[in-house]
């Protein structure tokens, strides 16, 4: 049992324990040190993870996959968690439980990493639960604020239902196939496992359970509430980090089912189409920017799923999956970092004329939105382009058409924020700023949107041969 294969996860776990111990004994004004401990731990984990680049195989008796997609996804999780940690000290400075938030972030990140590596249904359940339990805490972190508690409650209730569905689904699949690992499952299909109704139902239920973590239909309803009500760093975290893990977990599940054995791909394609459409249509009428970001994050999950649909159908699909996830991560986190930097400013009308007063924040938000739409040369374009390409090449042209129509719709609501922000000259008084570290996180992610877009050629080449077991 090569324990070293889990070194990155173990590093994050130990860091979580360290921040927790620190928070217990340090006075509150020193809790910011917890952020530094967390960032150091994440860096160490990143270095340990880099060691796994180029490896392909499973570990721990086939329950945990180490492959290109998994390594890159876990790397993204580390980076995204790092940015969320950066925007936290300012936000939680007045919270009595400031120091503990880092421990919860890190534990949740471990859950997401486990999700990204899950090559076994039992492992999947454990990962989803770890990620969920910590997620509830993060969403409801402002105990005294009704909206935050409501967000946490909604996340919890839908989560409880979705997790129950997931576990039941796992039981069905295990019962019918007699195995829990994906590789044995694929072998069972190859040996003539019949797609009995119970097996189909079980797989569909597992899909629903993963869709919950991904924020995809039919278990997406928590996303806007969490985006609006949870503390902004938590919202940034919950709309990104678990999704990365869930998307990869979904891809692994789809890989385990051969296309001709069972129509899982059309089901995922339908989920993708419904998710992006619901997300975009709902975002259209929002008057609250955080809620709007929540719905936009739902729609982006739909685009991510496009790559999952064609996994194994087109050789470029794993690359496209990672590219799209990366693009989404950077764009979404940048947007939330700006919201945090503006101290959670959320009413749409409060954004008008922002460009004149806070040009850098406005530029980063504009870049984030353009990236989420997929306008070149932002990184979002390359993510979307890769996804469109593999979807068409994989024979799902109709899904690409739906996605293109959705992209146009998404431009409308992003522009509803963007255009008053840039074009109006009205001033609504001074704009408060959170702190330097948040500002730095916003600028860093904003620059990354352009920098990654300009170097997309190199990155896509790096990702060209990555594999998914």
């Amino acid at each position: 049992m090569p324990i070293g294969d889990l070194a990155p996860e173990i590093a994050v776990l130990f860091t979580a324990v360290a921040t927790l111990l620190f928070a217990m004994f340090a006075p509150r004004r020193l809790h910011v040190v917890g952020a530094i401990i967390a960032l150091s731990g994440l860096t160490v984990a990143g270095v340990l993870l880099a060691d796994q680049l180029g490896r392909t195989g499973t570990t721990f008796s086939g329950t945990f996959a180490i492959d290109g997609v998994g390594v890159w996804a876990r790397f993204l999780i580390l980076v995204a968690t790092g940015v969320c940690v950066m925007i936290s000290p300012g936000w939680f400075a007045t919270d009595r439980r400031h120091g503990e938030v880092y421990a919860v972030f890190l534990l949740s990140a471990v859950g997401a990493m486990a999700l990204a590596g899950a090559a076994d249904l039992m492992q999947l359940v454990v990962a989803v639960l770890l990620s969920s339990v910590t997620g509830y805490t993060l969403a409801a972190y402002h105990r005294g604020w009704a909206i935050s508690v409501e967000a946490g409650m909604k996340y919890f209730l839908i989560g409880a239902l979705a997790n129950a569905v997931l576990v039941t689904g796992v039981v069905f699949v295990t019962g019918m196939a007699g195995v829990t690992g994906y590789e044995p499952l694929a072998n069972a299909f190859a040996d003539g496992l019949i797609a009995s109704p119970l097996l189909v139902a079980g797989l569909a239920m597992v899909a629903v359970g993963i869709a919950y973590k991904l924020g995809a239909a039919p278990a997406h309803t928590w996303v806007p509430d969490v985006a609006e009500g949870a503390p902004v760093p938590s919202a940034a975290f919950l709309t990104v980090v678990p999704k990365i893990g869930a998307a990869v977990a979904f891809a692994r599940l789809v890989t385990a089912v051969p296309p001709d054995a069972l129509a899982l791909r059309p089901l995922v394609a339908t989920i993708a189409a419904v998710t992006m459409t619901i997300g975009n249509l709902a975002a259209l009428r929002q008057q609250d920017v955080r809620r709007l970001l929540g719905w936009s994050s739902v729609s982006q999950a739909g685009y991510v799923l496009m790559a999952v649909v064609v996994i194994d159908l087109d050789t470029g699909a794993p690359t496209a999956l990672v590219a799209m996830l990366g693009a989404y991560t950077v764009g979404n986190i940048a947007a939330f970092a700006v919201v945090a930097d503006l101290r959670g400013r959320t009413a749409l009308s409060d954004y008008s004329g922002l460009a004149a007063r806070r040009p850098l924040d406005a530029v980063v938000l504009a870049l984030a939105f353009l990236s989420l739409v997929g306008i070149p040369p932002t990184v979002g374009f390359f993510g979307k382009f890769a996804v469109f390409e593999v979807t068409i090449a994989g024979g799902y042209g109709w899904l690409a058409l739906v996605a293109a129509a959705n992209t146009v719709v998404s431009l409308i609501y992003y522009a509803r924020v963007l255009s008053p922000m840039v074009f109006d000259s009205s001033t609504n008084g001074a704009v408060a700023q959170l702190d330097k570290m948040t500002w730095a996180a916003a600028v860093a992610t904003g620059s990354a949107i352009i920098a990654l877009g300009l170097t997309a050629g190199l990155l896509l080449d790096q990702l060209a041969d990555i594999s998914l077991l």
């Binding site: 382009f385 058409l401 146009v408």
Partner: protein, 501 residues
């Protein structure tokens, strides 16, 4: 060298945005100087361009995403060189032209340079993905120019423009992906795509891809019935931005139509050339008639763009119809279409600049609020008269050269469509003449007695562009030779054929 022509304005834009404390006059001078660099480079490129040489010349290539077959490829043929030269001229002119509302000058000039880089990049690139990137960048640049420096319903107009043309650009993106997926090994190289004709004999897929391209470029051009974004965008944009929108951005639609459907999908294009010609005819007539009904100067000019782009597309459609034995006529039509693009860019660009000065002086575009301006602003009047006559196709001016070739070519291929299309020319004449009469002649309202004539800079810019219009009208051979070098092989469909025609 061509790469430099794209990079210099980008860098200039970046400098303008990041240099604080730059005074407005310095910013403008810097912008004009920066805009002149690509023009000079392109003139140099022109001097190196060999009329009898290969299709694409002065090629520069640099790997970018080898895995996908994407690379930074630039190069020119006669069509793209003519269009990028026109672009270079028009950008120098519009940047030199005084701003309507003097605010945030640095950003204003930065966006113009950004747009120049994007436009030149689009015409000069030989890579489809890079083409798409520049196509979208041009949308972003124009969106900000209209939304920030426009007037009236500027935000709504900017948004409508952005969304409408973004629909088109996504249609193009999907079409590009399907087209490129058919190549093996996968490549976005336009030269390879033109040579391989990847969708030949592909049946319904080819039709869908063709439709994607045509819809996308028709929105951009714009053709009836997807032109409705154009009037509000023009009316609310500042004059110089309108000039670029009409002069350069619309050409991206017709240029794309030549480059992609016509050159890369010859077979499919031929099958649908007649429907395309009918759509072009509808645009010609609709643009002319609706323009005639407008009471606002700028709206009237805006609708003539729909009409003129209709001529250009008619020429392209005629060129793509594989009618046996009419190669010469088809080439004539295509050359006419390209010359129309250049001429329309210069002429309508000028008209929009003039409309911008009228707005800057009177704050209105309504024709009935004007009259007898010839008395107070003789230079403005003279320039408008020349530009209007050029636009309606008076012999001796650039528009005539273009239209006469388009119609001669089209008559050979689609005689009925061309015959009905001639009505458009008549109406255009009527609408320009009535506009001139109303605004510049007759009785002058008292409020217009203090109407100032064009200033020194404006005068110089007008003189330069209109001189070019006259030169093309009187002695078009240099431009025709340049364009013919490309249209020859585009129509005949073989690699390189001796120029001439």
């Amino acid at each position: 060298m061509l790469t430099l022509a794209i990079l210099v304005p980008f860098v200039g834009a970046l400098v303008l945005v990041t240099a604080p404390g730059l005074r407005a006059t310095t910013a403008r001078a810097l912008a004009v100087a920066t805009a002149a660099v690509p023009l000079a480079l392109l003139c140099f490129a022109w001097s190196r361009f060999s009329l009898g040489g290969t299709d694409f010349q002065l090629v520069e290539e640099m790997a970018w995403v080898p895995a996908l077959g994407v690379a930074w490829r630039v190069g020119v043929d006669g069509v793209s060189l003519a269009l990028s030269l026109m672009t270079g001229v028009l950008f120098v002119a519009t940047i030199a032209w005084p701003m309507e509302q003097r605010e945030r000058e640095r950003q204003y000039y930065a966006w113009f340079l950004f747009l120049e880089a994007a436009s030149l990049g689009l015409f000069l690139t030989l890579d489809l993905l890079v083409f798409y990137v520049f196509f979208d960048l041009s949308l972003v640049g124009m969106f900000f120019l209209i939304g920030r420096w426009g007037h009236g319903e500027r935000q709504a107009a900017a948004l409508k423009f952005f969304i409408y043309t973004f629909v088109g650009s996504l249609a193009i993106l999907l079409a590009i992906i399907v087209l490129v997926l058919r190549t093996d090994p996968m490549t976005f190289d336009m030269r390879v795509l033109i040579a391989q004709q990847p969708l030949a004999g592909a049946g319904p897929v080819a039709t869908l891809v063709f439709l994607g391209f045509v819809v996308g470029f028709a929105i951009k051009a714009p053709l009836f019935p997807v032109h409705t974004w154009l009037p509000p965008a023009h009316v609310n944009a500042p004059g110089p931005a309108s000039a670029i929108l009409a002069g350069v951005l619309l050409k991206m639609g017709t240029y794309g139509m030549v480059r992609m459907p016509l050159q890369m999908m010859r077979e499919t294009f031929a099958a649908y050339a007649l429907p395309l010609a009918v759509v072009a005819l509808a645009s010609i007539l609709w643009g002319a008639f609706v323009a005639l009904g407008q009471t606002s100067i700028k709206r009237r000019i805006a609708y003539t763009s729909v009409n003129h782009m209709g001529y250009a597309v008619l020429g392209i459609a005629a060129a793509g119809a594989l009618v046996a034995g009419e190669e010469h006529a088809r080439q004539l039509a295509l050359t006419g279409a390209v010359v129309e693009m250049v001429a329309h860019g210069l002429i309508t660009g000028t008209l929009f600049l003039l409309a911008g000065s009228i707005w800057a002086r009177a704050d209105t575009y309504e024709m009935d609020r004007f009259g007898g301006l010839a008395g107070v602003a003789p230079k403005l009047t003279a320039a408008t008269v020349v530009a209007a006559f050029a636009s309606l196709g008076l012999p001796g001016l650039a528009g005539f050269v273009a239209e006469v070739q388009i119609f001669i070519g089209a008559f050979a291929v689609f005689p009925w469509v061309a015959a009905v299309g001639l009505v458009g020319i008549l109406i255009t004449a009527a609408l320009f003449l009535t506009m001139l009469r109303q605004v510049f002649f007759g009785e002058r309202p008292v409020e217009r007695n203090a109407f100032a004539d064009v200033g020194r800079v404006e005068g110089a810019v007008l003189l330069a562009i209109l001189a070019l219009v006259v030169v093309i009208g009187v002695y078009p051979a240099w431009l025709l030779d340049l364009v013919n070098a490309a249209t020859d092989s585009a129509v005949v469909g073989t690699a390189t054929v001796a120029p001439g025609g």
